[in-house]
Symmetry: C2
Subunit: 381 residues, 2 copies
Amino acid sequence: MYQKQLLLIPGPTPVPPSVLAACSRPMINHRGPEYMAMQRALEHDLAQIFQTGSYVAILTASGTGGLEAAIVNFLSPGDKVLAVSIGAFGDRWASTAKAFGAQVEKMDFEWGQAADPQRVADRLAQDTNREIKAVLFTHNETSTGVTNDLAALAAAARGHGALIMADAISSLVAIDLQTDHWGVDVVVAASQKAFMTPPGLCFVSASSRAWQAMASARMPRMYWDLQQAKDFSDKGQTPWTPAVSLLYGLEVGIGLIKQEGLANIFARHRRLGSMCRAAAQAMGLELLADHAQASNAVTALKCPPGLGSKQIRSLMQERYGVVLAGGQGKLQDSIFRIGHLGFVSETDVLTAMSCLALALAELGVAVDGAAGMEAARQALG
Amino acid sequence: MYQKQLLLIPGPTPVPPSVLAACSRPMINHRGPEYMAMQRALEHDLAQIFQTGSYVAILTASGTGGLEAAIVNFLSPGDKVLAVSIGAFGDRWASTAKAFGAQVEKMDFEWGQAADPQRVADRLAQDTNREIKAVLFTHNETSTGVTNDLAALAAAARGHGALIMADAISSLVAIDLQTDHWGVDVVVAASQKAFMTPPGLCFVSASSRAWQAMASARMPRMYWDLQQAKDFSDKGQTPWTPAVSLLYGLEVGIGLIKQEGLANIFARHRRLGSMCRAAAQAMGLELLADHAQASNAVTALKCPPGLGSKQIRSLMQERYGVVLAGGQGKLQDSIFRIGHLGFVSETDVLTAMSCLALALAELGVAVDGAAGMEAARQALG
């Protein structure tokens, strides 16, 4: 039998059947009236979801493309950039800025920790000449399962004047992000996370301050050029051929988001995160992140002594059809991650944790599965 | 009733039902074994289709992204590039090279004409210091419906030593392109043309000469970095999350290509092109391209005196559900284009041309529809 799978990685996330079905609709002319109406509606809804009054560009690329777009549209070679990194994706964004000639100053926090707003404020206070042009934050660090307090980080940076940019790829829709209210100038998200849509689209919002910065930003750009995207958006189009079938899916995914409501979705993800952490801890497993900073979108667990994440994940997938993620970078084999964002239910988390208890027992780890389930039930409320 | 449409634009092209259905399969882990097997098989098949022994990278982007990748991976700022342009897409590629700091010398041919290999050979012969690092060719210029003699152009450039790059986005699979045999160093194609797959993927092949050039190429790159793509490809993966559902579609699309066979597909496109041109001319319409250079993937027709392409296209779409493309750039309203590449049958072309005859008659143009149909029938053979 073709194996039935429960996909619980932090992206691509499970896609609802109605979204999948939409992805198989026939092609239309991407310069024609039906397409234009669809793109206009999507952009309108995206702005609501981003909690911004600004234009949100839809780009055909995975999230990393959106991170590159955020760099090359608003900066010039030689610009100083403060890259606040708490994991692999923070590092990736810093490398991107560096690759395009920015003078990148990394502010690193230990993997598993959140960024400290005070350290950010202190560093920016020293920059009396206002040489730092942008500060890069990761809202939710997928590689470590840590959510930054982006509201506090943005507040710490706000007075300085540098552009505040946030990688919200694995947070947006799952975790509250008040783009305009918090004063985040550039926000990057992607389709394959809490948007419940297959990968291949990313979204970039830019404040009026960011648009002003763009006017003098000299990094080379063509495919990612947001000015061209905006000019075509005014006609309901994209400059380059868009991924039409993924936009069909996004339309249905956003419909589901509007139906459930952002507040309810955030609450569901808080429940999923709490259940996952409570079960893990009651079973005797150790979280990588501190409880207060742990992500409600993805949970990173330390492998029990003597076990590698590959072993655990292989058994989970082969025996139970539950697909988990390994670690990234320096944590590759020492942690494993459970994605619980997007089209994921409370029962999915219960299933994953009960299979995990069985798998670990089979691997010789003494875990208390019953205690884990009871803790999850209590967290369910 | 939801309007039944015959989509005959040069991309996105009509997608076969089996490809559409594949696009709605559930997500899988893009770092897991099923995915890796799929990517390996796709890369193998792509190399066959590209007629190359080299690695073909799959990127999540529309074709323009592939054109950018071709520039930034193999060139350095300040490098001289000879950009041979016969239309809007040749211009776009030249602009991309310029945006990334190449010293671009345009060699323009009149829109509707093919590039002259002799002029290319003469220009390169003058470059005795070998300052020109790359020559950019468009295989099939979608904006004008002209196919370049890429074999002759590549032969004209071969002795010089510059990298030979070809935009084959609207030609590959529809029109023969012998990458290795003709010595084309970099070839760019995309999913939404003759691959019969929705837009969102592009493909880039690179010869060993191109890989050597990459080692010293200093244009900034991250998302398009083919070295990273190759390193991950060795593990059956992509560096960034791929557009999984489009790869499902591509798998089925390539299956259909293998079933029909490249030689038969080329022959079918020759038939489609001949039928379209024969019908148009018998009806009294004028082709933009000379007959010998006219594309078998897309036909550009001049609007009859007094009519704009918008008028013709609107009536075709509203009354008959036949979707055609307008002109691009300076030809925007003076030509219209019929795409006949990918999942397009001889009957589709007959349908389009007979509806066109009716539409033009309604718009007051004296066309001989019956002669058009008879000419198409004869071209069908």
